[in-house]
């Protein structure tokens, strides 16, 4: 889990931007909850956000960046907004915030139940994968 210090409105904005792949899989998880945001710097009315992705070469890089910029712009208090990909921070499940992580695990358990794969999925959850 990251230790980002965020202004309330920025936190709320980043929490509004949903990860498109998890959304397609039926989970509403924000880029913040998923742990994609690696750095946020506010300075002199500007904001710069660094974001990693769950896999290198994610096809939705442009879309997610544009969505974050749109949402930050809607706050109306920044002169310049810059969201950049930062592949130097590899994403791991440990970067997820506890609440979203638990919600995702619950969803996986439900799905595993339907597929008869409870033991396998529980093993993944127990080992933090």
């Amino acid at each position: 889990m990251s230790d980002l210090q965020l202004a309330d409105d920025v936190r709320e904005a980043l929490d509004d931007v949903l990860d498109p792949c998890l959304l397609a899989a039926g989970h509403q998880m924000s880029v913040l909850g998923l742990g994609l945001i690696s750095r946020v710097e506010e300075q002199a009315g500007d904001i710069e956000v660094a974001i990693t992705f769950t896999e290198v070469g994610c096809q939705f890089t442009h879309r997610v960046i544009a969505s974050i910029e749109d949402r930050l712009e809607s706050l109306g208090r920044f002169n310049q907004i810059r969201v950049r990909p930062d592949w130097s921070v590899p994403w791991t499940p440990e970067r997820m915030e506890p609440g979203p992580r638990e919600a995702l695990d619950e969803g996986r358990v439900r799905l595993a139940g339907r597929l008869g794969l409870q033991a396998a999925i529980q093993s993944h959850i127990d080992t933090g994968k």
Binding site: E55, V56, G57, H62, R63, I65, R84
Partner: protein, 351 residues
């Protein structure tokens, strides 16, 4: 061990200069493209951001490709990405210049912007076919004022007239950007299903799915299996040889199983990665033990050049002999390869 004859299936003299960026989309595009640069180029070999943000000139581009890597021929794709870049990112002028100057080293895919008015599209395409284009590069989506527009490869009104014109010129290769959304565009333009009807209606033309492997892998595999004239050109997706080799093995496994080794085309996306970095990665790449699709010298040579040569009717032995006398080959044989980025660094910025 002898080297295969390498034809880079897609490489570009990009214009990443700041003054070429079109608004926020252009800035994001540049940021994303640059973010991969230090990942795929080994430490110490990446250009600084300032060096990287340049308008690559055709001469420094071709010297980088041919004097700094064991690439033998380049398929230069012009691009009509006008929503992000004022000049479209890679102009037709650069492609035409390279084709005119180095006809035996360059395969030029002229770009056509099919969002333009049809008469203008065909007129411009005709001019570029007259200038020696060997193929046509198409982009099926664009992002304008917060909206996405797309056209389909099976459109009789939009796409087929382009194929018919190319046919009249004896040009048989069409490459279409698919499987990798650029910009916050909708994904429907990136689907590959529309290529099926085009391939059926134009059986004597070849259709390359550029960026094959990023999305719709199963659908792409079906097309490779089902159509003798559809190919997977793995621009950027081939960088998984560096970034995620197990994933590359999975993609190769899917495509080789569907279409054989004859349907996959090497493409480096240089000069974002340095071309030799990708040549090295693919030369060293091995399929996992037990895979029925091991890369032998012969099958690797097909992927790295033989397949594209076949598509363009190039006799590799004859071409190799011809190129042995040119200044690039003479220089390489006498001096070996130049250090990466020598050619661009000796040019003045944005010369």
């Amino acid at each position: 061990m002898s080297r295969p004859f390498v034809i880079d299936g897609v490489c570009h003299p990009y214009n990443f200069a700041q003054e070429n960026l079109n608004g926020r989309f252009g800035r994001i595009f540049n940021d994303v493209m640059h973010s991969f640069h230090p990942l795929v180029n080994p430490p110490g070999r990446a250009l600084s951001r300032e060096e990287w943000e340049r308008d690559w000139q055709p001469q420094e581009f071709i010297e980088t490709m041919l004097l700094e890597s064991w690439t033998d021929m380049c398929a230069v794709h012009s691009t009509p990405i006008y929503d992000a870049y004022a000049d479209g990112l890679v102009t037709n002028e650069k492609g035409a210049w390279l084709k005119e100057r180095y006809p035996d080293r360059v395969i030029w895919y002229t770009c056509a912007d099919l969002f333009d008015e049809r008469d203008k599209v065909l007129r411009t395409l005709e001019e570029n076919l007259d200038r020696g284009a060997d193929g046509v590069k198409l982009y099926p989506s664009r992002y304008v004022d917060g909206f996405t527009e797309s056209w389909r490869m099976d459109s009789r009104e939009i796409a087929f007239p382009v194929f018919e014109l190319a046919q009249r010129y004896g040009v048989r290769n069409v490459a279409v950007h698919k499987a990798l959304p650029i910009g916050p565009i909708s994904s429907e333009g990136m689907l590959v299903d529309d290529i099926s009807a085009a391939a059926n209606c134009f059986p004597d033309m070849n259709f390359q799915i550029v960026h094959a492997g990023f999305m719709f892998v199963e659908e792409t595999s079906m097309l490779l299996r089902n159509h003798p004239n559809i190919y997977a050109t793995m621009e950027a997706s081939m960088l998984f040889t560096i970034l995620d080799p197990p994933h590359q093995a999975k993609l190769f496994g899917e495509f080789f199983a569907a279409g054989g080794f004859e349907k996959v085309i090497y493409a480096s996306a240089a000069v974002n990665p340095h071309p030799q970095v990708v040549v090295d990665a693919l030369t060293a790449f091995q399929m996992p033990e037990g895979s029925p699709f091991q890369l032998s010298a012969d099958t690797r040579a097909l992927v790295m050049g033989g397949n594209l040569a076949r598509l363009h009717g190039i006799d590799l032995e004859a071409r190799k002999n011809k190129l042995a006398q040119d200044s690039f080959e003479q220089h390489r044989q006498s001096n070996g390869l130049l250090e990466p980025w020598t050619c661009v660094r000796r040019s003045t910025p944005n010369e």
